[in-house]
Symmetry: C2
Subunit: 215 residues, 2 copies
Amino acid sequence: MKLVLHNYWRSSASHRVRIGLGLKGLPYDYVAVNIFTGEQHADDYQAKNPSGQVLTLEVIEDGGERRLITQSLPILEYLEDRWPEVPLLPRDPYFRARTRMLAEIVNSGIQPLQNLSTTNKIKTLGGDPATWTVEFISRGLGSFARAVAETAGAFCVGEAPTLADCCLVPQLASARRFGADLAPFPKLVEIEARCLELPAFADAAPDRQPDAVRS
Amino acid sequence: MKLVLHNYWRSSASHRVRIGLGLKGLPYDYVAVNIFTGEQHADDYQAKNPSGQVLTLEVIEDGGERRLITQSLPILEYLEDRWPEVPLLPRDPYFRARTRMLAEIVNSGIQPLQNLSTTNKIKTLGGDPATWTVEFISRGLGSFARAVAETAGAFCVGEAPTLADCCLVPQLASARRFGADLAPFPKLVEIEARCLELPAFADAAPDRQPDAVRS
């Protein structure tokens, strides 16, 4: 079995999946897809990912069968279903739900509003993408911080990293890039620092990827 | 154990969860939260749902302990973890992933861009919310249709309703409300019709809820 991750260094969805693969100790081939040059719209990429989005996990089974999965949380849940040894979700159903809830605050609550196809449309309306993005990020991190206060230990939910941390760390990286103020969220920054002590988080950072462009 | 669903008749996230509760045969108390009058911002509601979003499942255990879960997909996954008897996900990890992927095409790919807080912001930029919304809905349903072509049987994934159908049916209801053209998506409309033959889907429809306002 072989895993191939089609992804982009700076995409936060890609970043989440790299962390999950790292936490589970799963090796993978890295294939870079450049969203700024529109590589995700090329015919051979579209055949893999009908949504035209960057991120696709390609699973090549030993018999040669090829499986394609898109969307960061479904990919992470797939890793969890198939390789449960290093869990990314707690066992208790309620804490599993709280973990997934935190992940969705980022995944559906913030990220769709900060991504390139959305901010490009805001520009065509004459809006300022930075103002738009920072407002949704700040509001979303506020929700995340209030929810995490009920479950946090060393990490977002208890004492081990979960899906919620896989989403938080890339979201804070994006928040800084877009210029959001993180001062109101000391607990989130503290959890991030603890995560980044782990190689799975450190190695998944955007600027450590082969396609990273340093400005 | 008692379930209380804090929700709003026309919210598509609420609609998804009502379908899931129905498919699993779980009775619940219906508490209406009116997003147009801003009830979700009231103090007692905020204590339940820190995101200020409408949807919250309150679980009151027999011992009196009260659990609060927000976000539609985490709520549905919680129902699946705790009451697995009528499954909303296939057993095979790949088909589970494809199911979740379809659910996310709606949940993170369309819904955050059509919801009231987003379209209100589009209005303040001088944009037309209808044009904005219809474009994201049409693009999203296109992705959904291409992905579903690989897994559909009678339903989105195989021969039984799943999380994907719980998301598709509310999304098509919203699409009609916003005036999107569904002619390009005959397969999705066909699956919807089959779903609506089931009481769980029919009874969850917005206009059958106690807080529905007929125009």
